[in-house]
């Protein structure tokens, strides 16, 4: 009986193994890059999605008016040329005549206008609506979003199919870097109307005008495939046949799949970073998320600059990066990250800007002594709210220990909660300190610097000088003077950091393993993992 049962089991296993040996008929003889991602694709609707995975896949299938070249310089994409009026308020884009959607229809100026109206339309309720209202400065976008102006009043028109004129309410010097970000990508109106609310929710309800087109995706599936788009105007520049985006959530499984050849690239986390940092296929990719401690100025004592300076300089950021994160992250003695934006002098913002709030336990203690006198206190209990991810808790615990050790008398209480709960506490101003992060939406320092205006955020302060500086850079004459604007943005950063009104911690970088035979994947600060120029050899 035992023998019979075991032979039955073996026969079953053999059958299943035979099934495993069949190769994928669709991808045989084609060259596919396999990229390990951590989350599923949520939607292909560029005006609706907010997550990194969806942005990456959309950026590989859709092009906007402009794009980055491999050195992150803005170059033409669907727009082959453009003119900017002297006052910086009118942009005229001339669209390529050979740009087509994957269904063969031409990409027209109306496709942009239609998409931008969708983004501004309150009925779309896009999380990225602020991009067209607050950031882009396109005329009437704010009024449309508020429901006080008609959709058709949006400041964009198409004198002909291949000309797009955009009218701004104020000069936006970084406008060309906005139109290469997914929320500003075009949508084919006729196609959209044929699928309506299903738009972007399946491969059949998605169109591409970029190097690849979506060819396989099941809702919630762990594999998403894009293949070369035969209608792409620069299809000859694309060398690989496609990309498989493979969802691998477990780090150990990802490593085995990488060694096995199932994936060619993935991001390392935790202990694996240390294990592979000397591997020839290991590299650090610059990231743009800036982790910092948000301070609620409305809370007792936290309006005291000496106290904030003491707290902000009491934790060793280098030790956090090299001892806890170990993923190539770098200490942030600044708020505008490195490699985010290049100034009129051709230099990175950080290259010519000072650093602030460097770790210095002695001066931290001196600030704490002064604060005690000014506030007439001997001790202080302060709460730090933190989301319940492994790395955030580890970093917060380190900061808690460091403050308690370097500033005797201060007790830091950690409150761990879900990210959603933390954000709620922030917006209710029901917190003292919060470990949080910010990612850029466009390549300009203002994507970081503009967010703390009085009464608009959870910082709870009233800083007239900061407000005036932000307004001048955004709406004033300085907006049109690149050199003066650049210098004024340094002033804004100084205004934020000189008294530790916020407390930067680190700039998050990513450690990746990438096969040697896969090259040419482009990474930029606001968009990444572009496979258009990727090359995969068979060795």
């Amino acid at each position: 009986m035992l023998k019979r049962a075991s032979s039955l089991i073996m026969a079953g296993l053999l059958l299943l193994t035979m099934a495993a040996c069949g190769s994928n008929p669709v991808q045989a003889d084609k060259v596919f890059a396999n990229y390990g991602i951590e989350t599923e694709l949520s939607s292909m609707d560029a005006q609706v999605v907010t997550d990194g995975t969806s942005f990456t896949i959309i950026e590989n299938t859709t092009e906007g008016l402009t794009q980055f070249d491999k050195n992150s310089v803005i170059v033409p994409a669907i727009a082959e040329s453009w003119e900017i009026s002297e006052d910086g308020m009118t942009y005229t884009f001339h669209l390529r005549k050979d740009a087509k959607w994957s269904n063969g229809t031409p990409v027209t100026a109306n496709d942009f206008i239609f998409a931008w109206k969708r983004l501004a339309d309150p009925a779309t309720a896009s999380d990225y609506q602020f991009f067209i209202t607050d950031v882009s400065g396109i005329r009437n976008a704010n009024a449309i979003a508020a429901g006080t102006a008609a959709l058709d009043s949006l400041g964009a028109e198409a004198p002909d199919e291949h000309t797009l004129v955009v009218y701004l309410e104020r000069p936006v010097p970084y406008f060309l870097s906005l139109v290469l970000f997914p929320p500003m990508f075009p949508v084919n109106e006729e196609f959209y109307n044929s699928v309506k609310e299903l738009y972007g929710q399946s491969k059949d309800a998605t169109l591409a005008n970029g190097p690849f087109m979506l060819t396989y995706w099941e809702q919630g599936g762990t594999q998403i495939t894009v293949e070369r788009n035969p209608e792409y105007y620069a299809k000859d520049e694309v060398t690989i046949d496609g990309v498989n985006f493979v969802v691998v959530k477990d780090a150990q499984s990802a490593l085995l799949a990488y060694r096995n050849g199932d994936i060619d690239k993935f991001t390392l986390t935790g202990e694996l970073v240390e294990q592979f940092e000397n591997d020839p296929e290991f590299s650090i990719v610059d990231g743009s998320y800036l982790w910092y401690i948000l301070v609620n100025h409305k809370e007792a004592h936290l309006d005291n600059a000496e106290l904030r300076l003491a707290l902000a300089t009491a934790y060793d950021k280098q030790a956090i990066c090299s001892g806890i994160l170990k993923d190539g992250s770098v200490p942030a003695d600044y708020f505008v990250p490195t490699k985010l934006a290049t100034g009129p002098d051709g230099k990175d913002f950080r290259e010519t800007s000072p650093v602030y709030l460097e770790y210095n336990p002695a001066s931290a203690l001196a600030h704490w002594e002064k604060a005690k006198k000014e506030l007439a206190i001997d001790s202080l209990e302060i709460s730090l709210i933190v989301e319940d991810t492994e790395s955030a808790i580890a970093v917060a615990t380190f900061i808690q220990d460091a403050i308690q050790k370097n500033l005797p008398g201060i007790t830091v209480k950690l409150e761990t909660m879900s990210k959603k709960a933390r954000l709620q506490r922030q917006s209710d101003k029901d917190y003292q300190l919060s470990l949080t992060r910010w990612g850029p939406d466009y390549s300009d320092p203002m994507t970081y610097l503009e967010q703390f205006k009085t009464n608009t955020t959870s910082i709870g302060w009233d800083n007239a000088r900061y407000d005036a500086l932000v307004d001048e850079v955004t709406f004033g004459r300085t907006a049109l003077e690149p050199v003066a604007r650049w210098e004024m943005m340094k002033e804004i950063e100084k205004e934020l950091l000189q008294n530790a009104d916020i407390m930067p911690v680190y700039q998050k970088n990513n450690a990746v393993l990438q096969k040697k035979n896969l090259t040419g994947i482009e990474e930029h600060m606001t968009i990444g993992n572009l496979f258009k120029h990727a090359v995969k050899t068979t060795d």
């Binding site: 495993a20 008929p25 907010t50 099941e218 594999q223």
Partner: protein, 314 residues
């Protein structure tokens, strides 16, 4: 019997309604909201809440939700897959989890039963010791340990099965996760069936049956096994539901596109509709399976059926 089933069904519907309502209330008091992103201002949050009807009182939302749900409309996801109907989010994922769970239950139960019965028949021999070892290991070692053991040895080293779930290999992709998931039911069933079989074998009616001169096969397969099955079915019911609703850990390790992690993600991101819909589906499955099990008792054990019928008549 039919009156009994009808009564159970009515009770099931009422239970479901209560569960959904309690969930609605609990979600109401959960910290955070689906729309509290750093990049949204107060007006945008208000606009989003009004778009999805979250600005209405909880009882109105509850009645609206239930009235849509009975028509098969589970609503839209607020943020996991924004604007995507939940029915289509679940449609792709649930069958994968159910299939994996069913395979694991089937494999675990069959092997466990065979192992347990053999251990009882060859009491105090090598087979019995093996059964005990398998039971202890299977119950006490977490499934992710088996998962990595299988992943490394059969997937990576031997290359017999895919490491990650592949859509092009839907059969072989489920082999390793099924094996990993089946260890727990296998161990449970082996332990139970061994104990039950030993008890049955020592009972008077077995001695009587044996004295009637029945063949060994008939004696064990018909008379003993049938009695062993009753307690096993009791253990099996919750096991089936917990396996079919997806194992978060196993799905994560093998990249299985199942429903396992969806509930956790939904709770973390305050995607209320997804939480309510998934919980509702789990409850339906649980209640349904318990009902089937109750009916199975009657089929396997005529004593239960007779008692129930008598009690109804009485």
């Amino acid at each position: 019997m039919s009156r009994y089933i009808l009564k159970r069904l009515i009770l099931a519907v009422l239970t479901l309604l209560v569960i959904v309502f309690v969930l609605f209330l609990m979600l109401q008091y959960m910290p955070g909201s689906p729309f509290n992103d750093e990049k949204l201002n107060a007006e945008q949050v208000a606009a989003l809440k009004s778009k999805y009807g979250l600005d209405q009182p909880v009882y109105i939302r509850f009645f609206k939700y239930v009235s849509h749900m009975v028509r098969g409309d589970f609503g839209l996801s607020y943020n996991i897959q924004k604007n995507v109907p939940i029915s289509s989010m679940i449609r792709g994922r649930l069958p994968v989890s159910i299939r994996l769970g069913a395979q694991a239950v089937l494999l675990g139960t069959l092997l466990g039963l065979v192992l347990g019965v053999m251990a009882a028949l060859w009491h105090n021999t090598f087979v019995d010791t093996l059964c005990t070892i398998v039971s202890v290991v299977g119950v006490s070692v977490p499934s992710f340990v088996f998962a990595f053991f299988l992943l490394y040895n059969l997937g990576f080293k031997a290359g017999l099965f895919p490491i990650l779930y592949k859509v092009t290999l839907p059969v072989s992709s489920t082999v390793l996760p099924t094996l990993a998931l089946s260890m727990f039911p296998l161990a449970q069933i082996a332990r139970f069936s061994r104990t039950e079989m030993l008890e049955v074998l020592g009972s008077d009616y077995m001695l009587f049956a044996e004295s009637k001169g029945l063949t060994s096969f008939r004696l064990h397969a018909v008379h003993a096994l049938r009695n062993v099955l009753i307690p096993i079915i009791t253990v099996l019911a919750p096991l089936i539901v917990s396996l079919m609703t997806g194992s978060m850990v196993i799905e994560k390790i093998f990249s299985v596109p199942g429903v396992g992690s969806l509930l956790v993600t939904a709770i973390q991101s305050n995607d209320y509709n997804v939480v309510v819909s998934l919980t509702f589906i789990y409850c339906v499955m649980y209640i349904g399976i318990m009902l089937v099990v109750d009916m199975l008792y009657g089929v396997i054990d005529p004593r239960i059926r007779l008692t129930k019928e008598n009690s109804h008549e009485g």
